[in-house]
Amino acid sequence: MVFLFNIFYQFGDSLAFLLLAAIGLAVIFGMMKIINLAHGEFITVGAYGTVVSGKVFNLPLPIAMAFGVIVTIIFGLILEKLVIRYLYGRPLDSVVATWGISLIVSQSFLVIFGPSYEGLQTPMGNFQLGEFSYSEYRIFLIFFALFILFLLYYLFMKTSFGTLARATIENPSISSSMGVDVKNVYTATFAIGAGLAGLTGALYAPTMTIVPSIGQAFIVSAFITVVTAGASPFVGLVPAAAFLGMVQTSVTFYYKSTIGLIAILCAVILIIRYLPNGFSGLILKTKSK
């Protein structure tokens, strides 16, 4: 029993990280097809928004986190109006532009806040089970990540806004001819993606060192999870994160972290090769059978 819980904790922790790293990018890259190399910076904005407001205004943590998310949404909106809207339909150009944005943002943070900022303490406590002790917050993150994903799935797959958004992104000209304000749909969707990335930064901020490059820790995981999820990101994200998390946790358990990292990268290569539509393609195919 203790052993099972231990496995659940390690695996769930890895799953939560992959999921939360990927959610913002799933909207912006998975849905809108913008290769956002500044994804890490959205996370950084969310993290700094949380920590700075928490320290300067002495806000309780959940309010500080909400503040972080709002700041990221505003940041995303500004970016969308200035740069991103010229990149729709040009995925490869978005690489260069978002890389430039990433440089500007990360360096600006360095100039404004210095190389390091005082961090926050992880909320909640810990408890003992057998010979191991566990952080309650990290268990909370596992459930919260799944909850957020469920919300997103519902939003984009079941509500009329979600259907509208997906349809518009897939075929903007038809949507436009039906009277949809395409620009606003894009802007709103991008803002949601930005806000989600900000949420990731806010959630993980109390557990990591607050440096301008904090977002960099998420970016590779985010991309590989979104790509593994496949064409329909909200269907495939959980299975993708679960699979990759399992690979990484088990390989690291038997060998070492470096091999675990290499294993997860190799897993992605194989998935892209043999499952070109990712996990969502696999699920939808089996469903339709």
Partner: protein, 415 residues
């Protein structure tokens, strides 16, 4: 619109392409290559200020050989390629007389070859994994035999013989772990586990579980960089509760000031200096020297977040160079090397530091620092004049035999 942008663009280029103004002759030029920006900036900026402080003081006292010292410095942006580019610039364009700098071992190694090829005197002023035996290079930072041979036996005596190491999975971490293994064995202890973690990892739940399973008395944490430093907050929130020991943290990037307590509770570090020395030690030699240094430092840089141990090394390096040049009567590299090999000492922020002629490394006062529950600092023990014995004992004798290599415990200089 496009025209305006192009015009702005062109003028921006014109503006930035104006190179630095020419420097004065009749000065001694000190080249400095340090990471003012980038991942390593936190620990490096105090070094840069320490160089500037030392130069200012020496110039106020008449300079060296009647000439003023002049700094030519480039920001290497924590990027090895910049180190290479600017090393060449310092040597060939600015024609400096000596080079100081580098934080990570990789950046040091990326330029050491260039320095040696051009017979440029080079001071590396940072702690590292040890083993560099190079005729034209001098190391003022602490090395494993100074930091671990003091720290590990003390921890084992206080807390128990079972030791677990987590280390960054690259040269510095691997070699430091090798040292720990060796010292634990020599002192009759048990390595109950070792884990090597790549530099990019920031999530440690699995690592923490593995540590708990092994039930060590002492946890050696040889973690490098901001991502790996996240371990401390995560282990505290998981309630790990094992005394930690390290040679890397606190002394360089002042984690005890930056992380919310009690992330670093019960952490022990061996450093060759930190700014708290005179706050903790209320009187005596170390108190006076530390306070004097910090006062002068803050007079010039009142907003310095933290005056770390590498700043003391940087400061001492400039003074030692100045002394050696005075002694040699010239800035010619090989003559200054000989002067440095004649037993130069510097009475600096942490007491007397002596340059070992055999290995070109500095001896150090080692302070054992303990971080408490609210991240307050105490100093349970001080070791005076710990010599960098390993290279000399194992065949590196630069005063008599030139060499340009780096050795490790598993690859010592051949006798």
């Amino acid at each position: 619109m496009k025209k305006i942008i192009s015009l702005l663009f062109a003028s921006m280029l014109l503006f930035i392409s104006n190179a630095n103004a020419g420097s004065h002759s009749g000065t001694i030029k000190l080249g400095i290559l340090e990471d003012e920006t980038g991942n390593f900036a936190i620990a490096v900026v105090p070094k840069i200020h320490a160089y500037e402080l030392a130069v200012k003081e020496i110039n106020a006292n008449g300079g060296v050989l009647g000439k003023k010292l002049e700094i030519v410095r480039y920001d290497t942006q924590s990027d090895n390629r910049r180190f290479q580019e600017f090393a060449n610039r310092l040597i060939k364009k600015d024609k400096v007389d000596v080079v100081f700098g580098a934080f990570s071992s990789a950046s040091r190694e990326s330029i050491r070859g260039i320095m040696e090829k051009n017979k440029m005197l080079y001071f590396y002023n940072n702690q590292y994994e040890g083993g560099v035996c190079s005729k034209t290079t001098f190391m003022t930072g602490a090395v494993p035999e100074q930091q671990f041979s003091t720290l590990v036996p003390w921890m084992m005596e206080k807390y128990g013989k079972n030791v677990y190491t987590i280390a960054a999975d690259y040269n510095f971490g691997q070699i430091s772990a090798e040292w720990v293994r060796q010292i634990v064995k020599e002192n009759g202890g048990n390595m109950v586990g070792e884990e090597f973690i790549p530099l990019d990892v920031s999530q440690y739940s699995q690592t923490i579980q593995k540590i708990q399973k092994a039930k060590p008395d002492v946890l050696m944490t040889l973690l490098v960089g901001a991502k790996q430093a996240s371990f401390y907050e995560q282990q505290a929130s998981a309630g790990l509760g094992i005394p930690m020991a390290t040679s890397i943290n606190v002394g360089q990037a002042y984690e005890h000031r930056r992380f919310a307590p009690p992330a670093l509770e019960n952490m022990y570090v061996t450093v060759n200096y930190i700014q708290e020395v005179h706050e903790v030690i209320k009187s005596g030699e170390f108190h006076d020297k530390s306070k004097d240094y910090v006062d002068r430092f803050r007079a010039l840089y009142p907003d310095e977040p933290y005056i770390n141990m590498e700043s003391a090394n940087a400061y001492n390096a400039i003074y030692m160079y100045a002394k050696a040049v005075e002694k040699a009567g010239t800035t010619d590299t090989m003559k200054v090397v000989s002067a440095l090999e004649s037993g130069i000492s510097q009475d600096g922020p942490s007491g007397v530091v002596t340059m070992d002629p055999k290995s070109h490394h500095g001896s150090h006062t080692i302070f054992l620092v303990r971080v408490g529950k609210d991240h307050e600092v105490t100093i349970p023990k001080i070791w005076k004049d710990i010599k960098p014995y390993w290279l000399g004992d194992n065949g590196c004798d630069l005063a008599n035999k030139a060499d340009y290599s780096q050795y490790t415990p598993s690859n010592p200089p051949k006798k």
